[in-house]
């Protein structure tokens, strides 16, 4: 490395720096100064609300009834955990996450292989197929709800009429499945986008060599493509999980969690507790549960990312 004949540090705002034996400069104060704002903001953003959520979750605190106050101990948690509604919401959350993951990852992988092939108009077809990911969730959900799944005027109702099938009233007869379809429509393009990028780094020579050895397309997919995509797939799964655990807008504009609790997930359940029932304590206890769930996934994701990070 070319070095100036004098310590460079004195040129930069005159803050002295130490030099490490490896030749790398150690920022010291300067790093603190440069990274300080970002780190401080994120630290506040994380610790203050997190601390408050924890604190509230042990309090009796209702926004419309100031008579309810004081330390609650584990009451909010026991009340919440013995509430069957929580377990319905948990079950719905798992169904939603599981189904959307299955559809988007399997669909995304197969489509990535398809859209990697040579065909006419590939560039434009790719743009069309990833488009749903960029559509704001409230728009996507309302378009599906009103124009496609509407039992009277929707396109699906018209299609089933043409085919002589019974018309389905999507949101009252299968609310959770309808939401799964909408959310999967938004997230499959995400999986496709990531996996298509990953598949492009696949070594063509390797595929060619396998073909020469007589491997069919299925064998190539199973023994070469899929192992190559393994890490990308696991990253997609983890990122989607974190977002899918707290799906909110799609439920808010379509079913409002109903009918009954049929399409209420954990995020919507907490929202009802918080801003409709004004039960701060209960909502916060629910929040703590959501945070714990997300962190179980996050630990694995951060580990995977860390492996890839050389500094």
């Amino acid at each position: 490395m070319i070095r100036p004949p004098f310590p460079t540090c004195f040129l930069q705002w005159g803050i002295p720096m130490r030099e490490r034996t490896s030749g790398r400069t150690v920022g010291g104060f300067r790093n603190v100064f440069l990274q300080g704002p970002a780190v401080t903001l994120l630290l506040l953003w994380m610790l203050v609300p997190l601390g408050m959520t924890l604190w509230f979750s042990f309090q009796r605190y209702n926004l419309i009834n100031p008579m309810i106050s004081g330390f609650a101990g584990w009451d909010n948690y026991t009340y919440l955990l013995t509430d069957p509604a929580l377990w319905t919401a948990m079950g719905n959350t798992l169904l939603l996450v599981g189904w959307v993951l299955a559809i988007s990852v399997i669909g995304g992988t197969l489509l990535a292989v398809l859209f990697q092939q040579e065909f006419f108009g590939r560039g434009i077809a790719r743009l069309l197929v990833i488009a749903p990911f960029f559509v704001m969730p409230t728009v996507g959900a309302l378009v599906w709800k009103n124009m496609l799944m509407h039992p009277v005027n929707g396109v699906f109702a018209w299609l089933s009429g043409l085919l002589g099938l019974p018309v389905i009233d999507w949101f009252s007869s299968m609310p959770l499945a309808s939401i799964i379809i909408i959310v999967a429509w938004q997230w499959m393009p995400f999986a496709l986008l990531i996996l298509l990028t990953a598949i492009q780094s696949l070594d063509d020579d390797q595929v060619e060599a396998a073909r020469m050895d007589g491997a069919g397309p299925l064998a190539i997919f199973w023994f070469i493509t899929l192992p190559h995509l393994k890490r990308a797939i696991s990253v997609v799964i983890m990122i989607e999980m974190i977002f899918l655990l707290t799906i909110f807008a799609e439920i808010f504009v379509t079913t409002s969690g109903g009918p009954g609790l049929a399409s209420t997930n954990l995020a919507y359940f907490i929202y009802i507790r918080a801003l409709l029932d004004f039960d701060v304590g209960g909502a916060s206890a629910g929040g703590v549960i959501a945070i714990i769930l997300a962190n179980i996934v996050a630990i694995f994701l951060i580990r995977t990312v860390a492996k890839n990070l050389e500094t």
């Binding site: 300067r30 077809a125 969730p137 929202y271």
Partner: protein, 273 residues
């Protein structure tokens, strides 16, 4: 016709078929935006019709549509600008002055993204209520800035790291201080990277719908909340909804198409290249 050609045609048919099915809801929405309210709900759905701009006129005529659009623009661009200002020095020091702690700091920043918003809904709502930030552009701008800060730092870090250190060294030899170094060397060199980072942050803020639905009511509500107001039964005007939705997603769709490559990098924190 030779077999490779046949294969290519079959692939074209299959891939385009799937692409059109996936894109159909968006296509249908854009189409419905050009119908009259009567045609919009017609059964069988009309594919050929006299296109009208009535839906668009009606949406634009409502003064509040512009208010929502303006809120979206101010909040998403404002939060992006703030995030970039805070993130650039941080990413600079991580890329060019790495220490033993850099890796840990980056991973810790990533971990703050894992906090589910619903887990901290109550405290943020109450803090904002007490500080008068509920239903204000500033409040949502701050939240989005913090929400995107880890991704912005992370993406900038990966772009900065690609810049050969020698170039900065050379600038330093010519007597450039850190500020000049960043302003005259680093920023011009990484402008495409910074632009795509900014676009990603704008896209994420523009489409965010948890905080916007919970922290705003009318004054500062962005387009996500405006569109959500169409979910009430009395708000069922499909042509108008479609026109408004098309306007709301068009710029973001174009941004997204333009930055898809860099987006993969940003969204997966560099784990997929």
């Amino acid at each position: 016709m030779n077999p490779t050609m046949t294969k290519k045609l079959l692939l074209t048919l299959l891939a385009w078929g799937i692409a059109l099915i996936v894109f159909f809801p968006i296509f249908w929405m854009v189409l419905t935006g050009f119908k009259t309210e009567g045609e919009a709900v017609a059964t069988p759905p009309s594919l050929f019709f006299e296109p009208t701009l009535a839906g668009y006129h009606e949406v634009m005529a409502r003064a509040d549509y512009l208010k929502f659009a303006l809120n979206s623009i101010v909040i998403s661009f404002g939060s992006t600008l703030l995030a970039l200002i805070v993130a650039i020095p941080s990413a600079y020091s991580m890329a060019f002055l790495p220490t033993k702690r850099t890796r840990g700091t980056l991973l810790w920043m990533l971990s703050t993204k894992m906090l589910p918003p619903v887990g901290v809904l109550m405290p943020v709502y109450l803090l904002f209520r007490d500080m008068g930030l509920l239903d204000s552009q500033l409040g949502l701008t701050i939240v989005y800035m913090l929400m995107n800060l880890p991704i912005v730092v992370w993406m900038l870090y990966t772009f900065f790291k690609d810049i050969p250190k020698d170039i900065l060294e050379a600038g330093r030899m010519d007597g450039a201080g850190t500020l000049q170094e960043v302003l005259y060397l680093l920023l011009p060199l990484t402008l495409p990277g910074i632009a795509s980072t900014g676009l990603l942050s704008v896209i994420l803020s523009w489409n965010e719908a948890f905080w916007s639905l919970n922290l705003t009511t009318s004054d500062a509500a962005p387009l996500t909340a405006f569109i959500a107001s169409f979910s009430s039964p009395e708000g069922l005007f499909w042509a108008k909804l479609s026109a408004a939705s098309t306007l709301a997603i068009a710029p973001i769709l174009i941004f997204g198409w333009l930055t898809q490559k860099q987006m993969v990098r940003g969204l997966t924190f560099g784990a997929v290249k």
